[in-house]
């Protein structure tokens, strides 16, 4: 008896040392801290980068942003307005509750709530219907061929836990007290939250019960994730170099060369699904911020083309962006469904042609205009605007730069209080509809149409194409419509496109993980060696 006890104790001690030898922590940093842990409150990269480790949607993203089974094992379109999802059995939430169809129905309804920030992903959803414990039908108002792409961004919560903690609705700012989900989570994902100190640290530990550890490819050996935001660029890089953090998501461009030379640092480079462009007021009869009175020069295609020809995009790519940009002539990158290479071409850099076009349009002496630009939103945004303002001034369009923090920039352009502005547009659904509908459809008040089209571009053919892309289930016809929209974009020049952002990730040499174009690290694929 005693010997068995001793043996058991020895075995336990061995197991303990074995376990501690196996403990692998990844210390991760970036400038910003998530401002909530609520899965449907803030659709921001800084929030989802943490939530992606804890919560899961029905459908997961693969390493190249394709779709693969998550909490749903299979899905198909039963009829144009009805999708059926078969759910995974035997999944448990972190608190031990079982996962079933009730949780899915609850979560989709929660994402539909007025205080939800995830409405864009369920914009066509009429209702979610439980068929049996492990089957759910999602009924849509109109046929929605890309519903699975959208639901890959809707996290599934536990209904019982949400009801017990009074968080049936996403966090509401009106409530004068803290909502439970601000600092607490209960997901089904590979890691579970143990410590949440906003702006200081967020600690997650491995969920050994996660169903996906058996799936090939999920080969993470990480037992603990410690996320600590460091706002100051220099300090964040210092912490990486001194070995206090293992992984920095947002190294400043000016430090990249130095980081690449450092022996124990790896820099992963890759594109982000985000495109920068200038949009301009093409509706008003007179621009708000220009020397031209009585008419709007931007209504003239030749003026738009002139500004386009005036941009030396290679100088921006190599000098301002230090190579961390992919030059483009269209409004979304190749990772997005519907992309057609033939329409991704720029008007060439040609200052002489630009001056000629301006003269042809009746502005041989050029004119003055004010460019609005954020200075803390996109990579080197203000520097891009400075460079372009100089290029435009060189061909005669005297450009005054008005750079401001995002907190002032966005309200200004949303009041349409601008003549021309810089915008960067990400595509979370990875489908072209999201960009075309939000940026190019006429602002007619219908949900989603032209919601970020503050230059008020309007083209009936484009609007017709948006309707086709929304409703068409045949992928070939749908892609043809998208390609036509891209052709019109190229010919009509509603925007002056610049580039797709690159997002370098820097990490200690002993870390391996795939670079993701949605700028979201997935720790289920990361290893500490």
């Amino acid at each position: 008896m005693r010997t068995t006890l001793l043996a058991a104790a020895a075995a336990l001690a061995l197991a303990a040392t074995f376990a501690s030898a196996e403990a692998r922590t990844i210390r991760w940093s970036a400038a910003g801290d998530p401002n909530t842990m609520d899965p449907h409150s803030q659709n921001l990269g800084t929030v989802t980068k943490i939530l992606n480790q804890i919560y899961e949607p029905l459908i997961l993203r693969t390493r190249d942003l394709g779709l693969e089974p998550g909490l749903a094992t299979a899905w198909r379109q039963l009829e144009p307005t009805r999708w059926r999802f078969e759910l995974r059995r035997g999944v448990k939430f972190h608190n031990g509750n079982d996962f079933n169809a009730d949780d899915v129905v609850f979560s989709i309804e929660r994402a539909l709530a007025p205080t939800s920030n995830y409405g864009i992903f369920v914009d066509t959803v009429q209702s979610a219907v439980k068929v049996d414990d492990f089957t759910v039908d999602v009924v849509t108002k109109i046929p929605d061929p890309i519903l699975p792409n959208k639901l890959a961004s809707v996290y599934i919560m536990d209904r019982e836990w949400s009801e017990a903690n009074n968080v049936r609705q996403p966090q509401n700012t009106r409530a004068r007290e803290e909502t439970h989900t601000v600092r607490n989570t209960n997901g089904t994902g590979p890691f579970r939250l143990t410590i949440r100190e906003p702006d200081v640290r967020t600690v997650m530990v491995r969920n050994d019960q996660w169903w996906g550890w058996n799936v090939p490819g999920n080969d993470s050996n990480i037992t603990e994730i410690v996320y600590r935001p460091i706002a100051s660029d220099a300090t964040r890089i210092a912490a990486l170099l001194s070995g206090e953090v293992d992984f920095v998501m947002d190294p400043p461009l000016q430090d990249l060369e130095r980081l690449k030379r450092a022996p124990n640092i790896t820099v992963l480079e890759g594109p982000e699904v985000r495109t920068l462009f200038f949009a301009m007021d093409v509706k008003r009869d007179e621009l708000l911020y220009s020397s031209v009175k009585g008419k709007n020069p931007f209504k003239d295609l030749r003026v738009r083309q002139a500004l386009y020809h005036a941009i030396d995009i290679e100088a921006i790519r190599t000098r301002v962006m230090r190579g961390q940009a992919i030059v483009t002539g269209t409004l979304f990158p190749p990772q997005v469904n519907g992309y057609a290479k033939e329409w991704d071409k720029r008007l060439p850099f040609d200052p002489a042609r630009a001056r000629a076009l301006l003269a042809e349009a009746g502005y041989p002496q050029g004119f003055e205009v004010t460019l609005d630009c954020p200075n803390n939103r996109y990579i080197n945004d203000e520097q891009i605007c400075q460079a372009v303002a100089a290029m435009w001034t060189r061909v005669g369009v005297n450009t005054r730069l008005n750079a401001m923090p995002l907190a002032q920039f966005f309200p200004k352009i949303q009041r349409e209080d601008t003549s021309i502005y810089l915008l960067g547009w990400g595509v979370p659904t990875l489908d072209a509809l999201y960009s075309i509908q939000s940026l190019l459809a006429t602002r007619d008040g219908r949900p989603g149409n032209g919601i970020w089209n503050y230059g008020n571009y309007s083209n009936p053919r484009m609007d017709a194409l948006v309707e086709t892309i929304k409703n068409e289930s045949d992928p070939e016809k749908r892609n043809a419509a998208i390609a036509e929209a891209m052709r019109i974009y190229h010919e009509d020049v509603p925007h002056i496109p610049l580039h797709h952002q690159m997002i370098p990730w820097a990490m200690r040499a002993n870390i391996t993980m795939p670079h993701m174009a949605n700028n979201q690290p997935y720790m289920r694929w990361a290893r500490v060696n």
């Binding site: 920030n117 004068r176 601000v182 206090e244 966005f410």
Partner: protein
Amino acid sequence: MLAFIVSRLLQAIPVMLTVSLISFAMFAYVGDPVTIMLGQDYTEAQREALVRELGLDQPFFVQFVEFLQNVLRGDFGISYRLGRPVADLILERLPATLELALTAALLALLVGVPLGVYTGLYRDSWLSRVFLTVSLIGVSLPTFLIGILLILVFAVILGWLPSFGRGETVTIGWWSTGLLTASGLKALILPAVTLGLYQMTLIMRLVRSEMLEVLRTDYIKFARARGLPDRIVHFGHALKNTLVPVITITGLQLGAIIAFAIVTETVFQWPGMGLLFIQAVANADIPIMAAYLMLIALLFVVINLIVDLLYYAVDPRLRSGLVASSGR
């Protein structure tokens, strides 16, 4: 004495009201929190609903009066960015800032005063010249640069001290302290030096010039003529008479240290009120900005009061004046 304190406190009320009004008026220009809260995709209806929920559609003075009423009830509202009560957030961050500021102030005093005395007494020695030259750096380099340089040397190159954060903390009641753990103390060194360096050089130069002034006065000559030992002349007579301006400056600088810990806290990701404030500014988080500015105003009022009271302790002339006036 009591009447003095009460009158000083009464004077503080209009100061606080003015500060709150000015800070509140400023918020019209810091940007729109709604856009940040709503993210990339939202409809006009959602936006209007949120503006109504936050009461931002009300006229300025209605918002201001409502804000004052809530403040009087001790309710500073909910942070737009973090979704938590502002009072809780500030209480959570207060210990970090106070520990950092007091350590920096102590460092400035304990190093600055002796250096000032030394350079005052031995004004021509080579060591004094070294101190004075080095102190020029402390006065002229901006805080963030000093912080980055210290990080580069002690964290990146030597690897002795952490480059960011507060280390392990121990919680006593609601007060979280980093003073009781080794990693907490190590993490305190670089930010405290960064924050205190300017004040240290300021105090040193102040004490030095005051000492030089005092050492030329007649009573020091008489004290020496009486044959008092140097120690008593220097510290009992000379130093004590330099303290009035030093106390004023130190007191006001303590307020400045707390208020301007913002830069140091940002460089070292020190989880104090300054970092909270800077992030609130970036996100137009009005409730936090309002509460922070009110707190800093209150702090300056209290520190000024304490400084005034300390004058009585060190300057007998003021005390006798008070006695004489109250005896009349």
